[in-house]
Amino acid sequence: MSTPAAILTERLAKSYGAVVALAALDLAIEAGQFFALLGRNGSGKTTTLQLLSTLLRPSAGRAWVAGHDILGAPLAVRRHIGMVFQEPALDRNLTAMENLRFAGALGGHSARTVRERASALLQLFGLTDARDTPVAALSGGMRRALDIARGILHRPRILLLDEPTIGLDVQNRRAIWRHLGRLRSEEGTTLLLTTHHLEEAAGCDRVAFMSRGRLIGQGSPNELVGALGEYVLEVETESPAETASHLRPRFGEPLVEGERLLFRVAGGAVSLDHLTHELRAHARAIRLRRPDLNDVYLWIHRDPPLNYHPEGHPGIAAGAS
């Protein structure tokens, strides 16, 4: 089967005995897209990547990566993808350059091709000085960068990254994202990554939220955020129940996070001055702000769309306010 989609899954599922790691995933990722899977630990993100990279066999369902069936043609799939695991796929005893050479040879590339590409990648990732340093002596950020270089050495059309920025400090995280951005704009690589840093996913073309092995919503970050409402009204209060019942008639059902109440509101619907005065006995703080992906994540987890269609519109119930 040949398809224009870089990645296509049909009711892809994986279970271990009675434990369902992934339940009937339908996903379509277009070539050149920058796609993020979001969700908590154990939501099925990593399982999805492991199935797509032919590391695991699905319990049910089918999937095609770069047009190749993951069950029927695993070698062709692996030839077209780059995979970056949570833990680096590097030999600690070899130097940065030796690792890239080894990875290149495993991919069947000639020593000369590998040398040229490896030098260019080391430069791109700012690792030229670490070229002859054993991996064991590299910092976490450098190791991750080298691991990504390893993942793209064979110029894969699709790059799968499992939490590429986990365990890195802000600086290194930004650097990795910069590299990924360049990879996408310069090489047109399709990127599929998992993350639980939602703010990082804001730059993606499309994000999908996963929970307990299921896809519970997807769309472009702008669409999703836009569908949530114009503003989010945030009220911090010592008496959440009382405040909620007070405001419910005007702003609808709030999302309660401890002592924080979140309402989705339209721009003209709220006067902050008025509210501040009205709630002065209860509220510690009142904020009116633009929604972001974090809010989408919170609402989508509270109200997972009941009849969700992957090809349809982002599954956030409209008009709650």
Binding site: Y16, T46, Q50, S53, L55, L56, R57, L75, A76, R78, R79, M83, F85, Q86, E87, P88, A89, L90, D91, R92, N93, L94, R101, F102, A103, A105, L106, G107, G108, H109, S110, V135, R150, D162, I166, G167
Partner: protein
């Protein structure tokens, strides 16, 4: 594919050369046997003539080096499961069986290199002459190395964790070595032990080297050259077939996948 196999084998050999200490200790081990055990027993076995028992030990000690070298090298896949190398191998566009066979080949070469090094040392010390049949000697070393490497590979794909290592030492390496005709002829062993020795593929490698190294051996080989080769070939084919099958199956990858996901802090 050729490049990938060459790279995997080259990495194994490079690692052997880098770990000098391990290489030296792999030479010291058989020499201790030769001078300590060999000399001790020689005292009891005056009838064999001067140095007779020590010369009897030579094929067994060459096999011992191969056993430790090749078996430990192919067992190192257990360590690799927990390190990044296995991740690199698994995600490469190579059939699983090729990964496994290349690692086995690399492990066999390590054992052969170490045995050749020991032969030079024994030759210099005067415990080894020019082999009666050099071609058979080379064949014997290759076959013995493949037997040991395949055995290691077989164990590696079935073991779950590193902790098994001590178990492997006690229940694999020692029995394989002791019940092989390396230290004493098999024919004098009582029933059960003899049966184990006969089922031990390593025995046939020791026996083949006795054939190849010639008149020095005080006791006649136990089996014919043909039987030796057949037994070893059968074991290697069977062990690798089972290992490849197991390695391509889901459970191995599910446990590997867990290793990849759950970050281990060292």
């Amino acid at each position: 594919m050729r490049r990938a196999i060459a790279a995997i084998v080259a990495r194994d050999l490079k690692r052997m050369l880098r770990q000098r200490g391990r290489l030296v200790s792999s030479m010291v081990r058989p020499l201790i046997w030769l001078f300590v055990i060999g000399t001790g027993f020689q005292g009891m076995l005056e009838g064999l003539g001067r140095g007779g028992y020590q010369r009897f030990l030579v094929p067994g000690l060459l096999s011992m080096v191969v056993l430790f070298g090749s078996l430990l090298a192919s067992l190192s896949m257990i360590y690799d499961k927990e390190s990044g190398v296995m991740r690199m191998l698994i995600i490469a566009p190579l059939p699983r069986a090729v990964v496994l066979l290349a690692r086995t080949l690399g492990a066999a070469l390590i054992g052969i290199c170490q045995a050749l090094l020991l032969m030079l040392i024994l030759f210099a010390l005067g415990y080894l002459g020019v082999p009666r049949d050099p071609a058979l000697c080379a064949l014997g070393l290759v076959a013995q190395a493949l037997v040991c490497a395949s055995l290691g590979t077989l164990i590696a794909v079935f073991s779950k964790a590193l902790e098994d290592f001590a178990v492997i030492m006690n229940f694999v390496i020692f029995p394989v070595f002791f019940l092989s005709g390396a230290l004493y002829p098999i024919e004098h062993l009582p029933g059960v032990l003899k049966a184990v020795a006969l089922a031990n593929p390593f025995s046939y490698g020791v026996d083949l080297l006795k054939h190849a190294l010639g008149p020095e051996a005080l006791f006649d080989p136990d089996f014919s050259v043909g039987k030796d080769l057949l037994a070893m070939l059968a074991f290697v084919v069977l062990a690798l077939a089972v290992a490849c099958r197991r390695f391509s199956q889901a459970p191995v990858f599910e446990s590997l996948a867990r290793v990849f996901t759950a970050p281990k802090r060292h």
